[in-house]
């Protein structure tokens, strides 16, 4: 039964290794694979700038539920779907440029709030199982999304732009060109350094979100969420409406994810109507975990370090695979494996440590009780 003492009285170096085992392993893998891939430094800088500006907002959306003790919010997929619906409408109406992106954000916000609220209620009813439920909820919503977008649009929901409809007259096409909205935020204040486009607009937005998150943590609501995240009972005793706070954290996260997906799509310029949001949850969460976050603790550094490490691995894998075995396909499977594996490993590590700590608490409580009883007995003995 050695394990009980592990987390409490561990050698600090060992603790660091275990806490950050995921980023360390990934860093090693990446360091190994970069030279194999044969890609230039300039290529990396260019790719990473793009990916950082494209994905960071989405991953930042994951931070608030972690704060509130909801774990990894697999339900950000719902926010992504809301954003896509906004984009579909804006494209249908023929709006272009920055106004189109802002309008898409505007109309998808109520949808995101609604979906987030629904997700929050469902997750509240599955306390202790939030992550699995969130995960399955994402799949479930995908089905509803399909029913709405593939069958409802053009039918019950009026869509006039025939370019985005399927030949049969209703249902949105598989891939929609977003030329009108392409890179509007990225190019908002155009700046080119050494041939690389620096997306000032997007960077400003991401920076504002970071500032918002830091500020939010200091507000009463933020503090309430942190208390709820620490311990439900303590929060309840302090007068905090635990259920409402949890739901609110999910709503905020969903809305942020909605905007994040719109930012993501404006960078890419095309939307895969039915696939774009599928891997959003997995990749965002994997990136966050690779950045050193855990189910209970995640901060802004985790987000950016995570994006850099995770996406470098993403870029490098196919080529490294080709260099090692001669098949790029190997690298692709490898990076899918790493994405899933990272999540499995982090979750297992977290669950294991949670159990060990719980055991520790229990033993401590039992020992304390025993001590109390002993004291009582000696007191009694004294009296006699």
């Amino acid at each position: 039964m050695k394990k009980q003492n592990l987390t409490g009285t561990m050698n600090p170096y060992l603790k660091f290794l275990i806490d950050y085992s995921v980023p360390i392993i990934i860093s090693l893998l990446v360091a190994f694979a970069i030279p194999l891939s044969g890609l230039s430094g300039k290529y990396f800088i260019k790719e990473l700038t793009i990916r950082l500006s494209r994905n960071s907002f989405l991953i930042l959306a994951l931070l608030i539920p972690v704060m509130a003790g909801m774990g990894m919010n697999f339900g950000i997929v719902l926010g992504a779907m809301a954003g896509e619906i906004g984009i579909i409408f804006v494209t249908d109406w023929g709006i272009v440029g920055l106004p189109s992106m802002l309008l898409a954000m505007l109309i998808s916000t109520p949808i995101a709030i609604l979906l987030g609220y629904f997700a929050g209620i469902v997750l509240n009813r599955a306390k202790g199982r939030e992550m699995v439920t969130g995960f399955m909820l994402g799949f479930f919503m995908n089905g509803i999304y399909q029913l709405v977008v593939l069958y409802g649009m053009g039918n019950i929901i009026p869509i006039s732009n025939s370019k985005i409809l399927l030949p049969r007259g209703y249902g949105i096409r598989n891939a929609i060109s977003l030329m009108g909205i392409r890179q509007v935020m990225d190019k908002f204040i155009p700046l080119k350094i050494g041939g690389i486009l620096i997306p000032i607009g997007t960077i400003l937005v991401i920076a504002s979100l970071c500032i918002f998150i830091v500020w939010f943590k200091k507000t009463k609501l933020g503090q309430d969420m942190r208390t709820v995240g620490q311990d439900n009972e303590v929060a309840r005793a302090a007068g905090i409406n635990v259920e409402k706070t949890r739901i609110l954290s999910i709503v905020i996260s969903t809305v942020l994810a909605c905007y994040g997906q719109i930012i993501f799509l404006q960078n890419i310029g095309t939307m895969n109507t039915y696939n774009s949001h599928e891997q959003v949850g997995v990749f965002a969460i994997a990136a966050l975990l690779v950045g050193g976050a855990s189910v209970a603790k995640a901060n802004i550094f985790n987000v950016f370090i995570g994006v850099i490490l995770f996406h470098t691995m993403f870029i490098v894998s196919p080529r490294a695979g080709k260099a090692i075995i001669g098949q790029a396909q190997l690298g692709e499977y490898f990076r899918v494996f790493v994405s899933y594996g990272v999540i499995a490993f982090s979750l297992a590590l977290y669950a294991w440590r949670k159990r060990v700590e719980k055991e520790n608490e229990r033993r401590k409580a039992m020992a304390f009780k025993r001590m109390l009883l002993q004291n009582n007995n000696t007191a009694e003995g004294d009296k006699l």
Binding site: W93, I95, G97, P99, S100, L102, L106
Partner: protein, 127 residues
Amino acid sequence: MRKRIIIRITLIVVLILMGISLYTIGKEHKVLIDNKDISMGGLTYNADTAYNVRVDNLEIGLLEKDERKAVKVVGASHKIVVEEIKNKISTGEKHEKKFKLKINENVTINLPAMVNNMDKWIEKIKN
């Protein structure tokens, strides 16, 4: 309590107004430009020269006789500038007109009519 409701309703109204203005500012319209003969009320205006066309500072190019070009513009108010070109050289004659587009409006502009300051130089395209 009252104050909260008022604030919320104001917020919603503001958002709706923002939405409408974004829609108007960002809406794409199609503008067709014709350099064709046009007859109105008994009078005929011939398209006998080429014109160099600019819309909103975007160079559309040369429109020869009987040519038609299509342009996408964004927003409500626009400006079109035409320069007469005879034998590949500009004659120096310029015409400029401003026009406003309503939501969902697509228009056709006829160059001879415009150059001659006719009323119906610009017409809505009926879908």
